[in-house]
Symmetry: C2
Amino acid sequence: MKNWRDNIRKVVPYTPGEQPKKEGMIKLNTNENPYPPSPSVRKRLEEMSVDTLRLYPDPTAGVLVRALADHYGVQDDQVFVGVGSDDVLAMAFMTFFNSDRPIFFPDITYSFYPVWADVFRIGYETKALDKDFRIRPEDYYGENGGVIFPNPNAPTSILEPLDLIRDILEHNRDVVVIVDEAYIDFGGVSALELVNEYDNLLVVRTYSKSRSMAGLRVGFAIGHPDLIKALNDVKYSFNSYTMDAFSLALGAETLKDTGYFEECMEKIIRTRAWTAKELTRLGFVFPEPMANFIFASHPDIPAEELFARLREQDIYVRYFPLPRIDNYLRITIGTDEQMKTLIRFLEKYINGRK
Amino acid sequence: MKNWRDNIRKVVPYTPGEQPKKEGMIKLNTNENPYPPSPSVRKRLEEMSVDTLRLYPDPTAGVLVRALADHYGVQDDQVFVGVGSDDVLAMAFMTFFNSDRPIFFPDITYSFYPVWADVFRIGYETKALDKDFRIRPEDYYGENGGVIFPNPNAPTSILEPLDLIRDILEHNRDVVVIVDEAYIDFGGVSALELVNEYDNLLVVRTYSKSRSMAGLRVGFAIGHPDLIKALNDVKYSFNSYTMDAFSLALGAETLKDTGYFEECMEKIIRTRAWTAKELTRLGFVFPEPMANFIFASHPDIPAEELFARLREQDIYVRYFPLPRIDNYLRITIGTDEQMKTLIRFLEKYINGRK
């Protein structure tokens, strides 16, 4: 007899970073922002009435789409929003990657890409980063069903220049190229300026890192109106009302407070520079960090050991037991105080081990 | 030359009901609850800190899952949550309907089912409701890849008895059977009591109707732990963090206030009875309403005409220009005041037309 279990979609799901909630812990494992959202968000929340929750939200997410379009200087029909950039990326995989050719992405990258490819039955080929973890643009010249990479890349924190992105776009005019800019606000140059030039470029962003709102679940994409329309058509075939009343109101509100946002970015970039200097002093090596994390390796101490010792101190960082990167730690930039505690412990531990 | 547009997933998206926001309008078109969420929800919202938004929410949605499990007397591993029941249903289609046989659902039903089937490339056969819009269980005896129907059905408001559901389950032990109970709280008997008996039964619910929280986007499913695990595996392959901080906190909170909830249900059921009596007096015919809407037809006046006239009065109801039901209006039960205004206008219009 047949069993309903035979028809289940078989997947190997993505494993999100742990989300421990321990009093006094130092959480540097999922690249959250150490600073709270803009005070204007608190004010806007206080003005919200729960009574309106009885109504469906605007399915077009108009208030949020318009706010993003204004903020980034594009038209409303160039903006798509979703429940975090993971939702946006999932929709983009479903919408654009339907060729019989494999899509291309780097071998070391956001570990969700192969998961989406699997769940949607999309063939893919990974392209090895060079020995310094840089993208080799010529790897992406061959025939493919689409290209996706983060910039800065995760978990390496490496930023590639716009010239490289333009090069990949020039060699891929017939497929959609997605640049996943989750970490671009921490000092990178965005590919947004290319969206009016290349109708096949989709730039994806998130509120979870630079905008201190991982708990709100907002992500967005900017691209040619035809790309956005295709995304919306698929989204409306999946779930018409994805953005709740809070995401719409608070997501639009936070864009107004550019002063607070820039101040946070400057603080994190400053703390990153200090942390980088200290890690270097302790013997760590790492690519130049251009995201809100540092991808560091120590020549003498296995990353797995450091990961475990830090955990015992309630200092959580991320460790990936994967080929080529299993001797690295991905360390999120927290507050100055948190990074000092981290460095203090590492210094003591490294000296004690000598 | 190939074009990226050739690889777009082609869909005919679901068309949600309009969401006009006009001062003073009477909105009876998307089956929202006329009463606000429980006062305890307001209190819980006031206690929430925006500062915690900087952190990712719990990807397991633990607080909400536990609250639902407690409330419905099941185990935590029997509960799945999503961004509205549309998200839950989309995940269920993706997860369970992967056979090479068509899935079955009624010809007159929630119009999103064929949309999900199309977007996920699932074959389907619709089964005609009988002349009274009832489900004929024997239509579902044949070999299929899965079965789904709402109970009460939408847009008819007809409730089928548990015996019929049991009959369909008995003839479909080898596929997943989904009972979509968006409207069950308005007086129906739930199939929840069958989930421990049938490991292939998934019962889906929403916060958007009876719980007055369409704006929060919360839906859930209850079933055998193997069904829930399969759903979670696919969900984690799609978007790990779907439920935001507000959905988790407020979604759990509202379950505590059973008194307020029951009071709202009683009020709506009472208003429904009054509205039904009045519509009958005006000559309308309709199946016995068991949801928070009435599916009414007038023998002398085309539904499309009434729909347009009501709209001119800023009274929004839903009209479906579809075979068999294009002479019906789906009228949501609002407050007593709103229903009186509706009946007053209909009475005047019908009399004026004679």
